[in-house]
């Protein structure tokens, strides 16, 4: 009876996981198939069905390399800002004992609550007034700003757990505060930086709203905007769309595969502490 229950439990888990993965299986095999095969044999793939035509077409249609360049630039530059500025602020808040820093911390953390789309309208007006409309830099600055509160939260939390003796010796040896940040703390921040990178990176890479609102979608497409090329009122060529979304998602999936451990850590920390 007990063995039977166990087998049943494992079986239902495996089965439900298979159903859950059906959409992914469907679009991954679909990306290699012609439209007629996708419609007629949605769940089957045979060697003679496989072709790379969808990819060749999608690369051209969504201007893949241009879009990849734009998304890559936005993600890399804004992540650099999120990590650098966030760790500097976190260091000040966590290691310098003054009431002002604690008040500052609470106000920065409160910003995590605000939904981006709530501030979207004035943001677009602001970007236009700053002359950044249509520029990747506008996108970079917005992404950096909106990801900084969580980054400050992560870095502050992490640096608060480090022992006080850490910097004392360095100060006695005449090291400056910036030197302490640079030489003592920065090397210790690898795990929390990984958490920060993967968490913010997924959000920035996958962003649609910022890019769609402030960039010229034809001249400066990002990946998530470019995949809309396959999504007119009549989606006819499923294979193109599938190939397009796979290529647009692969880099961030690879990053996730690399940093998964840290991502889960950050997720749990964020949920427990705020």
């Amino acid at each position: 009876m007990k063995v039977f229950k166990r087998v049943l439990g494992s079986l239902s888990l495996a089965l439900s996981t298979a159903v859950f993965w059906l959409p992914i299986y469907y679009f991954v095999i679909g990306a290699f198939k012609k439209r007629t095969d996708i419609v007629k044999f949605p769940l089957v793939v045979r060697p003679e069905m496989i072709s790379f035509d969808n990819y060749a077409y999608a690369i051209k249609k969504m201007k893949l390399f241009q879009a990849l360049g734009n998304t890559g630039f936005i993600t890399l530059v804004s992540l650099a800002m999120v990590v650098l500025f966030g760790s500097l602020a976190g260091f000040a808040i966590a290691r310098i004992n003054h009431r002002g820093f604690r008040i500052y911390y609470s106000s920065i953390i409160a910003l995590m609550v605000i939904p981006f789309i709530g501030a979207l309208i004035p943001l677009v007006v602001l970007i236009k007034n700053m002359g950044l409309y249509g520029s990747l830099w506008g996108n970079v600055l917005i992404q950096a700003a909106w990801n900084l509160p969580f980054s400050v939260f992560l870095y502050t939390g992490f640096m608060r757990t480090l022992p006080k003796e850490l910097e004392e010796a360095a100060y006695i040896d005449g090291c400056s505060t910036f030197g302490v940040y640079l030489r003592i703390f920065l090397p210790l921040l690898k795990p929390v930086t990984a958490t920060c990178l993967i968490r913010a990176g997924i959000g920035i890479w996958n962003d649609y709203l910022v890019s769609a609102s402030i960039l010229n979608n034809v001249r400066k497409p990002t990946l998530m905007v470019a995949i809309y090329a396959f999504f007119g009122q009549y989606v006819s060529e499923y294979g193109y769309a599938f190939a397009g979304i796979i290529m647009a998602s692969l880099p961030i999936i690879a990053l996730f595969a690399l940093l998964q451990k840290y991502f889960i850590k950050g997720l749990v920390a964020g949920a427990i502490k705020g």
Binding site: L88, H98, L111, V113, T177
Partner: protein, 318 residues
């Protein structure tokens, strides 16, 4: 007497001195550097978060098309006008149904899954593998998930109807049936959100000490009793967190539901976020759009405040 007086005064002088000492020149230099460290974060957050936040409230009191120089102050007229804008009540119902439906389904599904994964029959590797498998959709963007599900729901060519036909059932018009389309959008959102909650639940379950279960089992409690009287109460905080974060995510969602249903049929699946976008960038009514945005911010702030209160209460646990 005079001696005592001197002693007291020297004592108080010492105290004042020590208060000053606490911020010695070294300390003050450190604080100055620390403040400098905050400058980039502060500038970015003020310019791109706080200023827009103030402006959205200001815009919501004005009649403005976003382009012209003159903004006419009209007080609360934008808010008063809202209920009479086309499809407002359908939007309100759709948004609430979407948030409640998504949250309820995500919580139930992910709790069951987390329980199944937490079972001591599973090895570390299996648990990690299945957690990754269920988490995977959370890495995909809302646009990707939306496109995939829209294609899957297609009446003639989608995979879901193909499976129904294979099973001998009649195909369903997922995207053009009132009520059913709301459900279709919810399914897609649940698929994209469940993994996050599973991870949180699993972490919560694994922090429950196994001795508690053992003790209950020795006392003769059945599996159902253990679930009801130990697991669920111990998991109450994780459940609260997941309910609140999922409902916030559902209220904020934009491109996923939009790509699945396009707000159709009628206004039946059009959400608050989609209306904000429409008023601002398609109909050029920045004032009305901003009023809706303020409402969204208030809803999410309210949910977050609940979350904060709940977390404060259990701060002693951590």
């Amino acid at each position: 007497m005079s001696q005592a007086h001197t002693a007291r005064s020297s004592h108080s002088r010492f105290e004042r001195h020590s208060r000053f000492e606490r911020h010695s020149s070294f300390e003050r230099a450190r604080i100055r550097t620390g403040v400098a460290f905050l400058v980039p974060t502060t500038l970015l957050c003020i310019l791109f978060i706080i200023v827009p936040l103030v402006n959205v409230v200001i815009y919501s009191f004005h009649d403005w098309n976003g382009v012209s120089k003159d903004m006419a102050y009209i007080g609360l007229d934008n808010y008063r006008m809202l209920p009479s804008t086309e499809g407002f009540w359908q939007m309100a119902v759709a948004t609430l149904a979407f948030a409640v439906g998504t949250t309820a389904l995500v919580i139930v599904l992910s709790f069951i899954l987390a329980l199944a994964l937490d079972s001591k029959n599973r090895g570390r590797f299996t648990r990690g593998l299945f957690r990754t498998l269920w988490f995977f959709p959370c890495i995909l963007s809302g646009s990707v998930v939306g496109i995939v599900w829209r294609i899957m729901y297609n009446y003639n060519n989608g995979v879901i109807n193909a499976i129904l036909k294979m099973a001998g059932l009649s195909p369903v018009n997922w995207l053009e049936t009132y009520g059913l389309t709301n459900l279709a959008v919810i399914f897609a959102a649940v698929w994209a959100q469940a993994g996050l909650c599973i991870v949180i639940f699993l972490a919560g379950l694994q922090s429950i000490s196994p001795e508690l279960h053992e003790a209950a089992a020795i006392d003769g409690a059945s599996m159902g009793q253990i679930r009801r009287h130990i697991t669920i109460p111990m998991m109450a905080p994780s459940i609260t967190i997941n309910v609140l974060t999922t409902s916030i995510a559902a209220f904020k969602m934009y491109e996923l539901p939009w790509l699945v249903s396009g707000g159709l049929p009628g206004y039946s699946t059009r959400l608050l976020t989609q209306r904000i976008y429409f008023f601002a960038f398609q109909s050029g009514k920045f004032g009305v759009g901003s009023a809706l945005a303020v409402i969204l911010i208030l809803i999410i702030t309210a949910i977050s405040l609940v979350q904060l209160v709940v977390l404060r209460k259990r701060e002693d646990i951590y």
